[in-house]
């Protein structure tokens, strides 16, 4: 169990000019579950592999348990990694797959058998110990990969999209298992995914990466309710946040949309000096409320396309020059062509600078 710290870590792959990781600072607390989230190619795997020691660190430091590990071989970093394709040794039994690292480390046979036995018990793999990976289902292979990590009793677990080869249902149940296991063992974990649901459900804190830059680090709720940038706001939540262009008005107490509507910022008012600043206003689909026509409505939307999900209904409609998505309760019947009068609660409005995309207020 240990802390994992990255200090201004940068990475440029040899032979390519572009910097892939552009100065990442993060400290993962003892027993914390940090999820690295971001779109494909943003450098999540690269970052994780630098912690594992599978890629060199171009500049900056990786610190595990208070010790700078930049120059250490992966095996000496006291970490265990779970790969997307499991990377099990095809010619070894499940037992040997889990035991191999311990054998190499020269542990006594009895201790190996005991540790593997415990891990197998925990992961419900005991009946399969003699099988080859080929004879296992995807979920079972995934658990063997987990077992291989567990038996080493590492300071930290590193996961690189460990669930993305599983079907949706299995993914949900494995997600829960991983979380419970991590809680139970209390091992510091770094988990890479591009699936925001996975990130929200697993993480103690989420770190959102965009093209090698950290956009935000925060708890799932912080990331959801206080997105630090347009990028985070758009990335977290499904369907994504609605964005509208506008300017700050009313001495910092309101936003005037390009389409003319004025939305009060309520307690989220910004300094009056901000008046006239060009902003992008963000509202999540679930933060609109339907009101009777004319009753203090802020916006009116013509329903264009309707998706019924059961519990909720998503209404897509034209607004101004763009589209808005609104989530309404499943019982509320909406038909295409209906005009919906909407209000948006002030505390759920997000303001971002139009130029930099950073959050205001």
């Amino acid at each position: 169990m240990a802390q994992v710290e990255l200090r201004n870590v940068r990475k440029t792959y040899p032979g390519s000019a572009a910097e892939v990781i552009k100065g990442v600072d993060v400290s993962v607390g003892d027993g914390e579950f940090l999820v690295l989230l971001g779109p494909s190619g943003c450098g999540k795997s690269t970052l994780l592999r630098m912690v594992a020691g599978l890629e060199s660190i171009s500049s900056g430091d990786a610190v595990i348990d208070g010790k700078t590990v930049n120059q250490l071989e992966p095996k000496d970093r006291n970490i265990a990694m779970v790969f997307q394709n499991y990377a099990l040794y095809p010619h070894m039994s499940v037992f040997d797959n889990m035991a191999y690292g311990l054998k190499v480390a020269g542990l006594p046979k009895a201790e190996i058998a005991q540790r593997v036995g415990e891990a197998a018990e925990m992961l419900e793999l005991t009946p399969y110990l003699e099988r080859k990976p080929r004879a296992l289902s995807g979920g079972q292979r995934q658990r063997v990969a987990m077992g291989r990590a567990i038996v080493r009793k590492p300071a930290a677990f590193l996961f690189d999209e460990p669930l993305s080869n599983l079907d949706a249902k299995l993914r949900t149940s494995m997600r829960m298992q991983i979380k419970q296991l991590q809680r139970r063992l209390g091992v510091t974990s770094l988990y890479v995914t591009h699936d925001q649901v996975e990130a929200m459900t697993l993480a103690d804190r989420i770190m959102i990466l965009n093209q090698g830059v950290v956009e935000q680090i925060g708890t799932p709720m912080e990331v959801y309710s206080q997105p630090a940038s347009l990028f985070v706001a758009a990335f977290i939540g499904a369907p994504g946040m609605n964005f509208m262009d506008g300017t700050v008005s009313g001495g910092g107490h309101a936003v005037t949309l390009k389409t003319g509507e004025v939305l009060s910022l309520g307690s989220g008012a910004v300094a009056s000096a901000q008046d006239g600043r060009e902003v992008t206003l963000g509202i999540r689909p679930e933060h609109f409320a339907l009101t009777p026509e004319g009753d203090g409505a802020h916006l009116t939307l013509t329903a264009d396309y309707i998706e019924q999900l059961g519990a909720d209904t998503l209404v897509h409609g034209k607004f101004g020059t763009g589209m808005l998505v609104v989530r309404v309760a499943g019982e509320r019947s909406v038909a295409e062509g209906d005009k919906l009068a909407l209000t948006a609660t002030p505390e759920h409005l997000h303001l971002f600078d139009r130029e930099s995309g950073r959050r205001i207020g």
């Binding site: 599978l54 992966p74 095996k75 040794y89 010619h91 190499v104 291989r148």
Partner: protein
Amino acid sequence: MIETRQTGRLIAHFLLIVAVIAMGFPLYYTFIASTHTSSEILSPPLSMLPGSNIAGAYGLALTKGASSAGNVSMTLMLWNSLVMALAIAIGKIVISMLSAYAIVFFRFPLRLVCFWMIFITLMLPVEVRIVPTYQVIVSLGLLDTYAGLTVPLMASATATFLFRQFFLTIPDELVEAARLDGAGAMRFFKDILLPLSRTNIAALFVVTFIYGWTQYLWPLLVTTDPAMGTIIVALKKMVNFSDADTPWDAVMATAILALLPPVAVIVGMQKLFVKGLVETEK
């Protein structure tokens, strides 16, 4: 429909039977000849049934051979051939596996140059470099030695290339998992690469064993002492221009004897060999 399928099957069977006969008959006839005396063989037609000289023919081959081949026993020739074929097969596998390992898994300067140098030798058959190689063996004083017989034939671009292709199919993650498990270069080779290559090694062993066993030109060049010859060379030497001087019964027996070890290797390795050809382990 059924009829055409049946005629199709008949035709297929007919073709297969013809092929089996075409392949098998010379072998059968050689065997029959090896059970008759030399004079019976020389006065056609030869019976299609085994004769009674089986002990005589094989006894002669295994003890004395023929005067034209230096009167050495074929037991010794079989032994020499076995040593040569095994040394070449094992040597080829060891060398090519190690060089492929280096080329695929290690970054060192001129790695690609090394690969291409090995690869380019594929273009040169043994015969092209046989004279300089012979010169080297003579200078090293390796004529009439097992080393002289085998070492020059061990390096193999083909086998290196095959192992390289196989190693390239091993996922990076597997290599990385082994690194995380603390397996060093040698450990990885022994514990992971070797077992994964099992079927490839078996297939290559069969092919290279037969290659070594059937060598003719090279052993003929580098051995002058009849006792150092191989069975293939001896077989050729036993046959004289004049039929009268050729102990045909012993020749036929030797031919059969020369066939047996490669057949034994193929049969013994068949299971692994076929697996190596058809199945790529996941």
